[in-house]
Symmetry: C2
């Protein structure tokens, strides 16, 4: 590639909140040149979002950032408690509790992690610095144009200015522009993209972070408290802090005004009335803010697939379900790997067209759930249903507990809500990336080769499983074994180690992948001859990482004997499926069983770079497996 | 306390290897004034010890240092592989593998953590700096005296000098002097303490850390390789490194000389011959050293209980079992809390007399195991016995597996070895701190109140268990809930939540502890009236932390209703024993069951500050429980 002038960038990212930082971090790691600006002089000092949902923690771990987050000793919310006025008399009583992430969800971290947004931002910023990207502050965007005809490679021109000194300006050229500026997005406004309000009612919220002294017993749990004097939501935080949300006004109030406010003292006085007979005193208030908020969703996330929006610029909603930052992360992740696939030469440009539908659909679901969730909070059923709902699937002390047949509507809603809010229920609909019978490249034969399991569903997350790494006998979490490296992950569940037809199937697969015109061989690294033999995940291609899992004991597997050379090269990604799993207690090969694969025959799973299943097919002797994979990838990979 | 001159210290610590750093870190955290010197200009740059055994990782976690260690991405050894010459033909073949920490050991981290000693040292040094202790380098000790008659408070006088400039000297006074200077201890020599050699044979070892390219399949596992051309031990390391140990000479050789050496190239050539038919090439050698080593144990660890020795100054042995650093940590920990107990006013000075017998006994065991372990390595039994040994207790896929009745001698040795090397088998014999029927304060009635369980054994480690913290519903590891804070830990397993006699028993316990002359009340903090209500572990005393565990579901426990005020004050240390545990799959209250307590009646466990059980007694209505505790503590706490 020809050297470009200094003011040419792969992408200009506006806003260094969660969405901008996630996008910037991914693309910086994958070698892109980024202009990243933020109009604040420094990262978030106090307040703002604070909830990392279970699946987001998986994602942060997959990026190697989880331990830096956890080093701050965040609060962990395992349960939500409900407090209401008693049937007789005043005050409040606890009327129930629910797990944040019940056991029927197979989560590695069944809790919400609560930490000040600024600390989370700094973890990303430290990583960016390692990769040579700095955030330019306080700078803002003052204008932009996008014209692919005038310049097909760098179609975007962006004007930037210093926030405090408008004489300092820059004009830069870029392949992409990303607006992660929050709810009041300049880029969205310039594009004249409207906001649709799903719930016409808007609210004014007060939010207060501080350290309190109280005899209220659930101050270290998430609580929703309803009383005759109003309602409060309690969110525990790191360092003995607690966040209180209090609704100050609703557009349904007679005297509603979106600028209505309340002082710190007024909110504290209200909190005291609501919590009575319990006492509460503030030792310290770290942050206090009042802000109007309504449910809104951006009509478009992009107009030309060069200028994109994400995060709060696209969707706003109540803070109740703790979804803002998590949704922002996933917006950015979704876009990041697609830009990488296009700019790295793997994929056709049209895969960028899947960003808006995939993410807008999730935002629509989020807003619908936000309403449903609020409704759930107010119309809680009796204790029995709650217990049934939380226990469905695996319950304490009884690994064999079966899901109840008479699952009622409440339980269904509850489970869907928990799955969605945990992040494990977020899914993408069929398209070129998520196989279905209507997949662009589908054919009768491909369909026949496809899914031999109903457990792994294209568009849904790869299922968590624990296996033993052959090369060093480490017990590992399979879904974490391939880092967020921008690669498609091919997990080959090889089934039986001793059945000769399985061995032949592996050889057929390796032979097919090795053909010079295969989807795998066509995208080899330019530097393939100088790649270190220590390279674990990308020895052949930046876009594919292979892993093989045998339904066997670790000591039975001999990599040089049991795998064809191509797969053996990924020696650190060869696993024995020999760990007992409580969710499939009778399985001989628990990971195969959890995926829904036959323990003898296995199968192949293609996992998108963001951890969602793209395609599942049988592992068979002959050319069918590779043909099926070719058909899947053929729908979006570059023809050259 | 009167202010002392600047050159008065609580302790002078010589040597900043693992033993000195552990001692310094503990005492710095607990507020002691420390002079800590080391004769090296900076921490270990390369080489030296590198193995952290499973139980040591628990200890580092209990100190809040584990995540800093793991951030370096150490290698994890789960299995040991054995390679030998084949029955026919040349070369080597794998003849078996063993887990480093088999499942019959209830370990949280069933692997050995391998990391360069310098990185481990730096984790401690960073913690020391937070607490205001700096290591003075390169300084050495040139002389000392200890005379309790001349100065009963600061009996030790120490002369120090700069290593490179002997004109720079200091003379300091101290309560204690600690020699953690390694095998060639100046302090030990000055005290004229001899070394006893358990095994008269000494060896010369070569050790090489580096990055290799090899087709040897087990280079990421610990291996012992015997071939016609000699023997090697392989230890994987962080960052693709590997350590090779090779025996260069033995005092049984005809031409033995302890100064015998070998060049890097000679050792590499030997390694190539031994590993054939596999190939090995070095990309980089980080460290190479040759050193003579024999089994030796110091005859005394102290003469006057003012000047102490620990770590390699007290015991040397082969590196094979990876015990050096771990034993050093435990030497220091054992001494640290006893000094704290004495100097903080809790304990009589005679508890310091337990340091030498407790730790010397472990060193004797270590040396005996070092021999036994070496023997085990050379006389491996058939595969069936190995499988039986590793599976005993809980095995994969079958939580109900029972220990075989026909356990043979090999299996017994193997299990004891694994337990010992994992750290879980280290134990202390009965003395004033570890209750037995011959306990100094024992009486017929105390014995009757004592142990109502055979699972918890005084002098052995507290058993690991998982419970739910009531206040925030967090699922936690009970044994980690009280940090290494120098306090005795009183775990009150309260049994049934609903049985009125259990509630009465808790009230009796709280009443007894609250009496002004109780062991608990007599050692209250001087600043008790100004202690923050957020203080979790030491609201009343620096020497006692209380925790209560109910055999109930979390949602059933209401702290303010179910606990007497004294115990309720430790609200963050109240737990529900409601988590399923695979090791006791049928138990309703798994933690009670693992401890061997009746799920209705519970019991009380006193855990020493270092995590070893001191005393176990029944939880009963009336004064008996507190009387039993008084008798236990009465054997060593201060009479004032």
């Amino acid at each position: 590639m020809a050297t470009q002038p200094d003011n040419y960038y792969d992408i200009v990212i506006v806003g260094a909140g969660p969405v901008g930082l996630m996008l910037s971090t991914c693309l910086s790691r994958w070698g892109y040149k980024i202009k990243h600006i933020d109009n604040r002089p420094e990262p978030t000092a106090t307040g703002r979002a604070d909830g990392i949902q279970p699946r987001s923690l998986d994602l942060l771990r997959n990026m190697g950032l989880k331990s830096a987050i956890m080093a701050h000793k965040p609060a962990r919310v395992y349960e939500v408690a409900f407090w209401d006025p008693p049937k007789t008399g005043g005050g409040i009583v606890r009327t129930g509790t629910w797990p944040s992430c019940p056991e029927f969800i197979d989560a590695r971290y069944p809790f919400t992690t609560l930490l000040h947004q600024g600390l989370i931002e700094r973890v990303f910023i430290a990583d960016l610095e390692k990769n040579g990207t700095e955030i330019q502050r306080p700078w803002t965007i003052t204008g932009f144009t996008s014209d692919e005809k005038a310049d097909p490679t760098y179609p975007v021109t962006v004007q930037l200015a210093h926030v405090d000194d408008s004489s300092k300006t820059e004009t830069v050229k870029a392949k992409y522009l990303f607006g992660g500026e929050g709810a009041r997005s300049f880029i969205r406004d310039q594009l004249k993209i409207g906001i649709t309000h799903k719930d016409p009612i808007s609210y004014v919220w007060g939010v207060m972070d501080g350290v309190v002294k109280t005899d209220f017993p659930d101050m270290k749990m998430k609580c929703t408290i309803h009383s005759e004097h109003g309602s409060i939501m309690v969110i525990p935080r790191e360092a003995n802090m607690v966040r209180l949300y209090i609704q100050i006004a609703s557009s349904t109030d007679a005297d509603f005004h979106p600028r209505k406010t309340a002082t710190e003292e007024e909110v504290q006085a209200a909190a005291k009335r609501i919590l009575a007979p319990y006492s509460i005193e503030w030792e310290r208030v770290e942050w206090y803010s009042v802000y109007p908020i309504g449910q809104g969703i951006s009509d478009k996330y992009t107009l030309d697939h060069r200028v994109f929006l994400g995060g709060d610029a696209c969707h706003t909603h109540s803070p109740k379900a703790g979804q803002g930052m998590n949704t922002a992360f996933l917006d950015a992740l979704n876009l990041a790997w697609k830009i990488h696939a296009v700019e790295g030469g793997l994929a056709e440009r049209h895969i960028l067209e899947t960003y808006e539908p995939e993410r807008k659909d999730v935002a629509e679901t989020l807003l619908a759930f936000d309403n449903k969730y609020a409704k759930l909070f107010s119309q809680r059923p009796d204790a029995a249903s709650t217990a049934q709902a939380t226990a469905s699937g695996v319950s304490h002390g009884n690994p064999d507990a079966k899901q109840s047949a008479e699952e009622n509507e409440f339980i269904k809603t509850f489970k869907e809500s928990c799955e969605f809010t945990s992040g494990y229920g977020v899914f993408y609909k069929p398209n070129a990336l998520n196989y279905s019978s209507s997949h662009p490249a589908s054919s009768a034969s491909a369909a026949a080769e496809a899914a031999n399991t109903t457990k792994l569903v294209p568009g849904r997350l790869f299922i968590n499983s624990t296996v033993t790494r052959v090369v060093d006998a480490n017990v590992v979490h399979l879904e974490q074994e391939i880092p967020l490296n921008g690669s498609f992950r091919l997990f080959i569940f090889a089934g039986s180690l001793t059945n000769p037809s399985q061995k032949t199937a592996l050889e057929s697969l390796a032979a097919g992948l090795s053909k010079p015109d295969s989807f795998f061989a066509r995208f080899k690294r330019a530097d393939i001859d100088s790649v270190s033999h220590h390279e674990r995940h990308n020895p052949h291609s930046k876009f594919f990482t292979l892993a093989t899992v045998f339904a066997a004991k670790r000591t039975e597997v001999e990599i040089s004997r049991d795998l064809p050379e191509l797969l053996a090269r990924y020696r650190d990604n060869v696993y024995a499926d020999d760990r007992w799993d409580r969710r499939v207690p009778d399985a001989k090969a628990a990971a195969h069983a959890k995926m829904g694969f036959d323990e003898e025959k296995g199968g192949v799973v293609v996992v998108r770079p963001d951890g969602y299943v793209g395609f599942v097919c049988k592992l068979e002797e002959g050319e069918k497996t590779v043909e099926a994979l070719e058909k899947y990838f053929g729908a979006f990979i570059s023809k050259q």
